[in-house]
Symmetry: C2
Subunit: 445 residues, 2 copies
């Protein structure tokens, strides 16, 4: 009987593992809660209206349709029965011979879960359309605000944490406010929008070379983003954020707050800890062996954002797409090899570099010993982000929209979509007399 | 002081009225509950995953950004104070000198509102993504169904009513099931999908020439759609529909039911009836005068799907985009003329024809005395639907995706997006042994 490989998660890692088992004599079941693979590195472009969800998401079935030894199941894994080798879904059970856990990570609010509703994070398509809705709604509310103070709070955006996602999000927000929506309003001037990037450490992009952090800061400031380093966020509510710098407290009124600060490994890490005694790191990630398996369980592998893989330096590999891709590929190949009685040397990560883009035409990149920034890094960023798209049509669509956005400075997907009707809260009412561009608008009672 | 024209609704009619007042000496406020104009004729393509929402929706602000005499307000109109000439929003008031009510229509379930949750209709972007979700989810549920009877019910789709939207939706569903998802599943064969188009009258497309109805029926049947005419739907629930043909009752198990049967004018019709004594027709539409104004209120115009405009034949004009566009243009021009002390002759509709598409490469069209069907009508349909898009980028994106879909027989946007996790109801569990393509999948417990 053929061996049955079960893969939990259809992200970068899970998908790579599946495709590298294409010619192995196995049956594969890929289980995901969602029906699509998501190109997460471009999620911030959906959140800021440059791309549509379908441009960066592709159904897993469609990606794997011609690989006949894979079956895709839409399902929610809640437990793993390591004794009987079964994956427990919310509504069923699936037996395995080999298990690859690639369940990824969600967002962490460091114990302050009450902040989540005021400061959404960016992990899924729904997160992105929700952030897009809040961003657009903030401008609409400012346009209808009763006084300039209320308008100012609606026109202030705080992005919490200056890692790659925060930097990219802040840069894209600046382009929306200062470029794409420049002529869209009559009562407010989007040029008055404040975008604040808050970073508790002393520089943005702390995992990059300090020189590149400096360049990124300069590029953000050129775009109009205020970069605030060294301040810790001590409170977030519907009206703004509180920053603490040493003994000083500062309250910044900001109606829209976005959270890119913390990552929490999938709860399946805890499941593996309880079921298989797997050791977890502080972030809840499973500390795996050099072949990416769980100690004592040679048939259970953990890859991607859920895995803690030690480098030669002792540090864990970062939670980025490249790491997940290489780990998925490794485990796929390893299982195929072992079935033929052979083996592979321990997993080794090949660092292909680190990139972040800062708005139109600027990026920073570390590739080996190379440090690039500015317009030169940008086309490289562009090509890499096109090439790693799983789907050819998406590459074409993304490229066309980027070209279009670049030339016209417009954005193609500035849609507010939601079931409920927009409803402005009580304190916003139409002012007695609207100050407009021309000053000629008639009375609005 | 400049006159203030208020337009309620940014659909085809409202948008045309606004743009035709561009050179008039007026200030315009366009109020809409949504931030975007929607190209409704292609909504069924979003519902069936061929296009993305942003391909057919464009922010009103962005369409009108360079027309400086227009202000766009995101707001929900709940009443009209015709005495004091004010539009009452849920959260404010706006005064007007001239009012254009272009609030459109929603869906009607003919008093059976309890059917709505089982049989969603197709009017907004959210409706389209909800239908898309249900369609894709049905295939997922069938793939995981416990027995073949359950799978059959999940693989049966009923589209209620054979007007243009119903015909187009059924044809597109057939293409998804029989073409786009052909290789996507392992337990079920999408070729076994049943798509039933239910029409109470004796033919589909009853507003078209009978010859074209025949051709449309033949084209649908070639695609694999069962066309059931002459049967009245007497019940809809979560398990299927009940059809009544004379004395006979037939229950058809169908997990997915889509509703395109009834149109209900916006509640603002009733508001105008109560406030201005406007007469309504059976569908709740306001019966307007030959200049599209409300009798007794020369400063209030009603256009588009909310207006009942009598033709020479005595019948009302149909609720289609062309009618709304021509009415909007007329009222815009009329107001501009009257401000200059001139007038326009009564509104006259110029029939540009009627079209519906039936899947890939087939359409029916009535253009003047011309009756076209089959592959010849299709490129015409294509060009017209591209040309009437308000936004140039959308034309490009739609064209590329159509070409892509045409060549690859794939669909680009088959995404399930929703906040809640997918959750299969209790009766669906993973069968003890899955029958697969190869019959070799190992035990699934």
């Amino acid at each position: 009987m053929k061996k049955h490989v079960v893969i939990i998660g259809g992200g970068f890692g899970g998908l790579q593992a599946a495709t590298h088992l294409k010619y192995a004599n196995v049956d594969i079941t890929l289980i995901d809660r969602r029906n699509h693979h998501l190109f997460q590195p471009l999620l911030y472009q959906v959140a800021t209206g440059a791309l549509s969800p379908a441009d960066i998401a592709t159904p897993l079935r469609s990606l794997l349709k011609h690989q006949k030894n894979v079956r895709v199941l839409l399902g929610d894994v809640i437990d793993i029965d390591v004794q009987n080798k079964r994956v427990i879904l919310r509504d069923g059970k699936v037996g395995y011979d080999q298990l690859i856990v690639a369940a990824g990570a969600g967002s962490s609010y460091f114990g302050k879960d009450q902040w989540e509703k005021f400061a959404p994070s960016l992990k899924s398509i729904e997160d992105a359309t929700e952030i897009r809705r809040r961003m657009l709604y903030a401008f609409e509310a400012a346009e209808r605000a009763a006084d300039s103070e209320a308008a100012r709070a609606w026109l202030t955006f705080a992005v919490i944490a200056g890692g790659p996602t925060g930097v990219e999000l802040a840069g894209a927000l600046a382009e929306v406010a200062y470029d794409a929506m420049k002529h869209d309003f009559r009562n407010i001037n989007p040029a008055n929008t404040r975008i604040i990037l808050v970073q508790s450490r002393d520089r943005v992009l702390p995992t990059f070379d300090p020189k590149l952090s400096e360049r990124a800061t300069a590029a953000l400031e050129r775009l109009g983003v205020e970069v605030r380093t060294g301040g810790r966020v001590t409170n977030v509510d519907g009206t703004g954020i509180t920053l603490s710098m040493g003994d000083e407290q500062e309250f910044i009124p900001a109606r829209t707050v976005l959270w890119t600060a913390g990552v929490a490994a999938s709860p399946l890490g805890k499941v593996l800890h309880e079921a298989a005694g797997a050791e977890l790191d502080n972030g809840g990630r499973v500390i795996v062996q050099s072949d990416l398996s769980v100690p004592g369980y040679p048939d259970i592998f953990v890859i991607g954002d859920l895995a803690h893989v030690k480098q030669a330096s002792g540090e864990a590999l970062p939670g980025v797409a490249q790491v997940a891709i290489q780990e998925g590929r490794y485990v796929g190949n390893l299982i195929a090899r072992r079935l033929r009685g052979r083996d592979l040397p321990p997993f080794r990560y090949h660092d292909r570099g680190n990139m972040a883009t800062i708005g139109r035409g600027a990026a920073v990149a570390e590739i080996g010993r190379l440090r690039l920034s500015g317009w030169l890094a940008w086309p490289i960023w562009l090509v890499i982000h096109l090439m790693y798209q799983a789907d050819v049509e998406n590459r074409v669509l993304v490229l066309i929209q980027w070209l279009w956005n670049y030339v016209t400075r417009k954005r193609s997907a500035l849609l507010i979509t939601e079931r409920q009707q927009p409803h402005f809260s009580q304190q916003i009412s139409i002012p007695a007399k609207l100050a407009t561009d021309t000053g000629t608008f008639p009375r609005v009672r």
